[in-house]
Amino acid sequence: MTLGLINANPVVHAKKERVARTEDLHGDEAVDPLEIYDILLSVDPEHPYSLEQLSVLSEESITVDDKLGRILITFITVQHCSKATVIGLCLIVKLKHYFPPHYKVDIKVSPGSHANEESVNKQLNDKERVAAALENQTFANL
């Protein structure tokens, strides 16, 4: 089905050593970038590496406002990556599963990393198009 991998030989980055979270039994644990990051790490459409190793996402690229319920994610891709929208879509779907409906998720391609940056951003944040895409059988299979 696929025509071969587009980015067949990605640069694989080392996994970062993670500082163990200090357990705080009494305080509230607000949603933080690390948590979202952990959730999103399992997504990948093309390679047997995690998004961290492919350096698509990093902890710094995620910002959260817990009170307002907003999440902003910027991800990096290669210039003509045809999967940019797919990656974005995967991220959206994943987050939808993990957060209550009142959270608003914004996803962007990081500035300068993609040729059609604007159009990708537009596609990803258009609710209708996302909903339509999700009904598409090909995506549902992903």
């Binding site: 039994l25 509230d28 644990e29 607000a30 949603v31 948590e35 599963h97 993990y98 957060f99 209550p100 409906p101 009142h102």
Partner: protein, 1153 residues
């Protein structure tokens, strides 16, 4: 004759290839049994089968031969005469030429050759005939796998029993075997082939004999398989593993030194391959073969081996480990792979063999001398680049392992490297007269180049390990004149001083942790050299100890250094304790043990108290003689502090005393328990505590908090609990004498139990008449002794003591109640006449507790009428519990007391526990109605009173928890309680039916609520199996219990326990049935608990239960889908991360339904 015709049939059915395998097997069995039972002789059988054995039809001939062979296999133990065996073996060995009927011939030969001597065996000349026929006729490699295997088995069998005959075959045999094994691929057959070569080689030990010319061929054959590369997937050929094959091949290789010219170059070549398993194998084979081939043959390879070893070790190092704290750390903390380990083993092996050769190789090695030159340019560990570190590590490891092999190498290495290292460190040498050439006071840390220190420490530790290792064999006759010894002596003083002065306080600011690590290690090694070998002077040893001690007392801010110093001290302590060197032991005791004890006393030391205790305990644990001193010192300090609190009113000491006593309970007593045989220490501790308490005059100091008393009680319990009966008796006698002579407790109580009640009457008593501080101590400590006593401990004057405890628990002393419970639990069932008359039997004690009138003014008849208004009436314990005296506090105390007594009874399996349950239930119910009505009028009532009312009922309900749960305080195995097995199940089965029926009957919502509470306690503490067996009935009650407990935030722990029971039911196959029946209620309850605000674990578990529920049959749970999803969507927003994660799982599980 019937026999022949039947026989023919049987033979026919075996030979006929179209018959099923079972039929064939059956006919084989039948024929075998005929022969076995002597109904048929072998001759007759052969005669009968003549046609089948000689026919030209190959299939039938093969089957026929096989039949005869199989029959013979089954007759292994039946004696046969020589003539028969002779003719049979002749026949089979001839048949080896018949390749179409080969299987039968092979099996037949094997069967005959394997026979035991008792049943008649094949004679030697016939066996030789078999071998000749084999070599002449068989083309082993052209056969199938099973036949090949049989061929090899036949060869092995011949080697085993007829090796002389085989040897006489000479060249032919060797050639035949070479041909037979060549090209073998099956693992099973290979195992045999390797083994055959091994025994073949052993058969011709002469180096110039027939084998010599075939060595090249054989080692070529073997070399083809090295290293074993196993491509069979797992699961297939499970019975032959790679390691087995590899080992068999190794044995074959090492079977003769003649293989050496071929094998050693092969191994060395494979050592440079990139495959790790090949490297490991090469190293293993080399180590093994080194011994077998002998020194002379290996000598010519020495250079090659050394250089490839060096390369292998340096290339096999992995990442350096981060922490230097682990115990088993080698060198510079580079992780070593299996390859490096094997390489070091090989290094030692070749060293053992060709000592001088390798010594000079290493000493003259260029790489090593380069390292010695490079290390001078780096001062600290951190300055050294990674690559150099790696090389340093390699050199260190090589030197360590090589030095360790024997004294010759130790001498040589120390001689060649030590002076050089010392020169780098600029350390002066001690001349022959014992003085220093240069007398230097202070050594600047600037000169301690890390690399030199590291190599120096490696050499020292190797030297020490060598001596310690040889010490066992040669006693103390380790040659003191060895050169290494002199070398060390020359430098030990300056080395020690250098390390000490750089470690001393304030000198560490520039150093890295690793630098410090090796300095500490160096000192530790110097201090633990056996005296006979390296007599480092006493002052030097003390110097080392002082250095460490000053670190312990001053440098606690540098955690790592502190830990290292402590570890080193413990190490030295263990060493000193282990070998009897009196002088060192004395210094150790004087400097370390005494001064650390004085640290505990002194206030002016800044070392935190917790660290003090840690250090003191660790050091104590290094040897029992140290521990004994330390225990004594600690005990004195603890007791002195106690007295300080209670006599001088010094509250500051209270904290310290508490910590010390806790240290006793948590560390010292368990250590004594493990070590064993130190009971007198426990006895002394207990007696000393009693003496101390006795010596207090009147103490009226009010000490805030009961921490110190509690700590003392725990310590007392543990001390008494670990004592033998005899010592316990001593302690209790002591305790009793103090109790009776020093307090008014016994005197006052013995006249009448009712003191508290008399005094109170109707007046409400917040302030129970308290005992004086000293009396309280004596009472509670006495209770502790009783709690921890063994069943056989002799308690003096039981009657009075029982009374005392009854009176005191009514005043609210829970330990009294616990002691009473323990006594009830441990008393003998019936005093026999032979025993002391003062011994009290259980029945009497029970009567005393339950039947004694607590006051003596009324007669029995009034009791039933008696309600809250009666005062001073005579009552038994049960009545107090039921609240016949209008004093709620007293009632609570009575219930608590009754509960502990009940627990004592329950554990020993006494049936009276039923009565206790009934009383408790009555408390629950009778007051329930009252409590409820009072609740309604609560606005008018005094709130204080009402609280007490509630607390009565609550304590009655919680009594079930006390009854069912395991207590740390008393009535457990540690304190020698009599515990019948399955007592929880028994209680569960007694109490549950009663509770269930009461719940059904109960009409007031309040009392039902309380009943649910009690039931919840019983269910959550009962073993899950018991609950599961009645899951259907219990589930609704459990759910009600959950909702009752979820009302109050204080009950969150109980709620969680109960929820765990529910999840346990959910996980069980039978339990799920019950859940399905009540699915509606379960879902409702769980969805409520998902939002339980007081405990995160409750929410998490509730969600997990919901996930588990989603696995239940679809039709039953689908209706709840929306309800669950609604509840879960809120949980997605939970404040705790773990809950959110569970909620996501749950949502996914339910949304795909």
């Amino acid at each position: 004759m019937a026999v022949p015709s039947e026989l023919t049939q049987r033979i026919e059915s075996f030979v006929d290839a179209s018959r099923s395998p079972t039929q064939q097997a059956a006919s084989l069995d039948a024929i075998t049994s005929l022969v076995k039972n002597d109904l048929l002789t072998i001759e007759n059988l052969v005669r009968e089968m003549e046609m089948y054995l000689t026919t030209t039809d190959t299939v039938i001939r093969a089957r026929g031969t096989l039949l005869l062979a199989e029959v013979l296999t089954n007759l292994a133990s039946k004696p046969l005469d020589n003539a028969t065996i002779h003719s049979l073996i002749k026949f089979f060995s001839d048949r080896l030429a018949d390749w179409r009927a080969l299987r039968g011939a092979l099996v037949g030969c094997l069967a005959l050759l394997r026979r035991k001597t008792s049943a008649g065996t094949v004679i030697a000349s016939d066996a030789k005939g078999v071998a000749e026929s084999y070599l002449h006729n068989l083309q082993v490699q052209s056969l199938g796998q099973h036949d090949r295997k049989l061929c090899f088995e036949l060869l092995e069998c011949l080697f085993e029993s007829y090796s002389n005959e085989l040897a006489s075959l000479g060249d032919v045999l060797i050639y035949g075997i070479c041909e037979a094994v060549d090209g073998e691929k099956d693992p099973h057959c290979l195992m045999q082939a390797f083994h055959i070569i091994e025994v073949l080689v052993r058969l011709f030990p002469d180096p110039s004999g027939p084998l010599a010319s075939y060595c090249a061929d054989l080692s070529e054959f073997l070399g083809r398989y090295f290293p074993i590369h196993f491509t069979h997937p797992n699961g297939e050929e499970v019975d032959v593993k790679r390691d087995d094959l590899s080992r068999a091949l190794m044995l074959a290789f090492s079977s003769t030194p003649l293989f050496e010219p071929f094998s050693v170059p092969l191994f060395l070549e494979k050592l440079s391959s990139s495959l790790p398993s090949a490297k490991v194998d090469s190293l293993k084979y080399l180590s093994y073969c080194t011994f077998k081939y002998g020194a002379d043959r290996m000598a010519k390879h020495a250079k090659a081996i050394w250089s490839s070893l060096k390369n292998t070790i340096s290339n096999s190092l992995l990442e350096p480990t981060k922490s230097f704290t682990s115990e088993s750390l080698y060198g510079l903390g580079f992780q070593e792979s299996e390859i490096a380990t094997e390489a070091l083993i090989l290094l030692q092996a070749v060293f053992m063999q060709n000592n001088d050769l390798f010594l000079s190789l290493i000493v003259d090695d260029e790489d090593i001398s380069t390292i010695f030159n490079t290390i001078t340019s780096y001062l600290s560990y951190n300055d050294i680049p990674l690559q150099v570190k790696q090389r340093l590590h390699v050199v260190g490891r090589i030197l360590y392992n090589a030095t360790k092999t024997n004294f010759a190498s130790c001498n040589r290495f120390l001689e060649s490297f030590f002076p050089c290292l010392m020169a780098i460190l600029e350390l002066p040498e001690r001349n022959s007269s014992g003085d220093f050439c240069i007398n230097e006071e202070h050594i600047s840390p600037k000169r301690l180049h890390f690399g030199a220190v590291y190599l120096c420490v490696e050499l020292l530790s190797a030297c020490r390990d060598l001596i310690m290792g040889s010490g066992d064999i040669a006693g103390n006759s380790v040659p003191a004149h060895e050169a290494c010894c002199g070398m060390l002596q020359r430098y030990s003083v300056s080395l020690t001083n250098a390390f000490c002065s750089t470690l001393a306080t304030g000198a560490n600011e520039v150093s890295d942790y690793v630098d410090i690590y090796f300095r500490v290690k160096g000192l530790q090694i110097l201090a633990t050299f056996p005296e006979g070998f390296l007599p480092i002077s006493e002052t030097l040893f003390e110097n080392i100890l002082r250095t460490f001690m000053s670190i312990i007392s001053m440098d606690f801010n540098q955690t790592l250094l502190w830990k290292l110093a402590l570890k080193a001290l413990v190490h030295i302590g263990t060493f000193v304790d282990g070998c009897n060197e009196s002088e060192k032991a004395q210094s150790y005791t004087g400097i370390v043990v005494q001064s650390i004890l004085s640290l505990v006393h002194s206030d002016d030391c800044t070392l935190p108290f917790a660290l003090k205790l840690e250090a003191i305990f660790e050091i104590g644990a290094s040897g029992s003689s140290h521990m004994l001193k330390i225990i004594q010192g600690l005990e004195e300090t603890a007791l002195a502090n106690l007295s300080d609190v209670y006599i001088h009113g010094n509250t500051k000491s209270a904290e310290m005393a508490t910590q010390l006593l806790e240290c006793f309970s948590k560390k010292v007593f368990p250590w004594i328990h493990e070590t064993g045989g130190l009971e007198e220490v426990l006895l002394r501790f207990a007696i000393n505590v009693w003496n101390h308490v006795e010596s207090w005059k009147a103490c009226n100091v009010q000490v805030q908090g009961k921490g110190i008393l509690d700590a003392t009680m725990v310590a007392m319990k543990l001390a008494v609990g670990s004592c033998s009966e005899e010592n316990q008796n001593t302690i209790i006698q002591k305790a009793y004498s103090i109790l009776s002579s020093n307090t008014s407790l016994l005197l006052k109580e013995s006249t009448s139990i009712l003191t508290p009640i008399h005094l109170e009457g109707l007046q409400l008593t917040q302030q129970m008449d308290k005992f004086s501080c000293k009396d309280e101590w004596i009472l509670l400590l006495f209770a502790s002794v009783i709690v921890a006593g063994r069943p056989k401990m002799h308690i003096p004057n039981i009657k009075e003591i029982l009374k005392l405890f009854v009176a005191t628990f009514l005043k609210g002393y829970v330990p009294s109640a616990q002691a009473l419970g323990s006594m009830i639990n441990k008393l003998g069932p019936k005093a026999t006449e032979a025993e002391n008359s003062s011994d009290y039997a259980l029945e009497e004690a029970m009567d005393m507790i339950f039947k004694t009138k607590i006051s003596n003014s009324f007669d029995n008849g009034v009791l039933s009428q008696c309600d809250g208004t009666c005062n001073g009436s005579e009552m038994v314990l049960a009545d107090l519990c039921l609240g016949f005296v209008d004093n709620r506090l007293l009632q609570v105390h009575a219930i608590v007391g009754l509960t502990w007594i009940g627990k004592g009874l329950l554990l020993r399996g006494h049936e009276k526990v039923k009565d206790v349950i009934m009383i408790l239930l009555q408390c629950l119910l009778s007051d329930g109605s009252e409590g409820a009505s009072e609740l309604e009028q609560s606005l008018l009532e005094n709130t204080r009173e009402q609280d007490l009312d509630l607390s009565v009922i609550n304590s009655a309900a919680d009594a079930f928890h006390i009854l069912m749960s395991d207590s740390d305080d008393c009535l457990n195995r540690k304190f020698h309680a009599i515990v019948r097995p399955l007592y929880k199940q028994r209680f569960f089965s007694i109490a549950m039916p009663i509770l269930q029926s009461l719940i059904v009957k109960s009409d007031s919502s309040f009392s039902r609520c309380m009943l649910y509470r009690a039931t919840a306690h019983v269910i959550s503490d009962a073993p899950l199996i018991a609950v599961l067996s009645e899951a259907k009935k219990l589930t609704p009650i459990l759910l009600e219990g959950l909702s009752v407990l979820s009302q109050d935030a204080l009950d969150k722990e109980k709620l969680y326990d109960l929820l765990l029971v529910l999840s346990g039911i959910l996980m069980d196959k039978n339990g799920q049935g019950a859940i399905i029946e009540h699915a509606h209620n379960v879902i409702k309850c769980l969805t409520e608990l998902v939002a339980y605000p007081h405990k995160m674990l409750v929410r998490e578990t509730a969600i997990q239960c919901l996930v588990a529920m989603s696995e239940l049959p679809h039709t039953r749970i689908y209706p709840f889908r929306t309800q669950v999803l609604g509840a879960i969507s809120k949980a997605l927003d939970d404040s705790k991360r773990a809950v959110r994660q569970e909620a996501v799982r749950c949502r996914r599980a339910w949304s795909v339904l």
